[in-house]
């Protein structure tokens, strides 16, 4: 299964891939925002109010998922305005420039890089400078962490990697797995197992599941 199954990869940069499952999960992450105008009847839908005719007053803070923010945000900014989540703000940027390896990116929102790229879609008034510093900061964080990811993925053969992987966000984990796969394939080839035909992993999984069904 692993050989012939090619899922849709997440999009690069500011565009998402419509059919990519990773992108869908990523756009579910929440953003802090503010209602620019009074929003009638929205209170119930957002879980804040009682009656169905209540409106969310102007200026109140909301936490909305990215897909909703993208849909409701238009260039005149009548409805919603979004703010950057704190992880992308100044305070954290100094942490990143100090030592990027220390930060637990998985806890900070498992889609740090993807989400950050999507944030550039919103035209904030401070955006040009933020975008610039954002890109620079991203690249530097990424470069600093990348070396460690590469090192650890290429040298951890047949070990429990959960400690290494725990602090990485999804993009970095994907890279890590690619590195691991390369390493495993190489070791297979060295042992002469490259020409051995194996049962597909899909079949093996089905076999296990069938046993479980028979037992349970």
């Amino acid at each position: 299964m692993s050989d012939s199954y090619f899922p849709v990869v997440p999009g690069l940069g500011m565009e998402e891939n419509f059919l990519s499952l990773d992108d869908i999960l990523m756009s579910q992450e929440k953003l802090p925002g503010r209602a620019e105008s009074a929003l009638p009847r929205l209170a119930v839908l957002l879980g804040q109010g009682g009656g169905s005719a209540e409106s969310v007053p102007e200026g109140s803070k909301l936490e909305i998922p990215l897909w909703l923010a993208k849909g409701l945000h238009d260039s005149k900014r009548r409805i919603i305005s979004v703010e950057l989540p704190k992880i992308y703000k100044e305070a954290w940027r100094t942490v990143f420039s100090a030592d990027a390896n220390v930060v637990d990116l998985h806890k900070m929102g498992p889609y740090y890089y993807g989400f950050g790229s999507q944030l550039l879609n919103f035209e904030n008034p401070e955006n040009p400078e933020i975008a610039q510093t954002d890109c620079v900061c991203f690249l530097q964080t990424f470069i600093a962490r990348f070396r460690r990811i590469m090192d650890s993925s290429q040298n951890a053969y047949n070990e429990d990697t959960s400690a290494l992987v725990a602090r990485l966000d999804e993009l970095e984990r994907a890279l890590f797995q690619v590195g691991q796969k390369g390493l495993n394939d190489f070791q297979c080839w060295e042992k002469g197992q490259a020409s051995q035909i194996t049962a597909s992993s899909l079949v093996q999984n089905y076999g296990k599941r069938k046993l479980a069904e028979v037992d349970g």
């Binding site: 009847r41 897909w67 020409s195 049962a199 597909s200 089905y206």
Partner: protein
């Protein structure tokens, strides 16, 4: 339907409802996107099944597939077969064979479960019982190995 009611209300002048329609529209689009991605992912996995497992799917898997997916699988099988016939001369080329580069014509295999009788090209039949070992031509066994019935033994 609630959206429709709001649309008609908005058209008649209440402009502050526009965002609500937009909000519901966003939700509908989101649901549509999730569904499409799920169905597409299922199709990708079914396609992988054809390459990994062969052209006949076991009943347990077929049980979980919808009628449209079964039809899609059959059509994909047909397109793949047509393509394989058109490539590689008169008999066509089976692309699902020899996924890994072969080292020899005959391979040693061990049987993992009882599979009954198995006929090879020169007419002899071999009884595949659990744990029996045989020396068989590669192209006959490849599919059975991938299905987990046989195990390739390296000497």
């Amino acid at each position: 339907e609630r959206n429709q009611a709001d649309v008609s209300e908005a058209k008649s002048g209440r402009t502050d409802l526009i965002f609500l329609i937009r909000f519901r529209h966003c939700c509908l689009l989101r649901n549509q996107r999730c569904l499409l991605a799920y169905l597409y992912d299922r199709l990708l996995r079914i396609r992988a099944l054809r390459w990994e497992y062969g052209s006949v799917l076991p009943n347990t898997i077929q049980f979980h597939m919808s009628a449209e997916e079964v039809e899609w699988f059959n059509r994909y099988k047909k397109s793949l077969a047509t393509y394989m016939r058109s490539v590689g001369g008169e008999e066509g080329l089976d692309l699902t064979q020899d996924i890994k580069p072969p080292k020899s014509l005959y391979i040693e295999v061990r049987c993992l479960k009882d599979h009954g009788e198995f006929e090879i090209d020169d007419g002899t039949t071999i009884l595949l019982k659990k744990n029996s070992q045989h020396f068989l031509p590669r192209w006959k066994c490849e599919q059975l190995i991938r299905q987990g019935v046989l195990e390739h033994v390296l000497s």
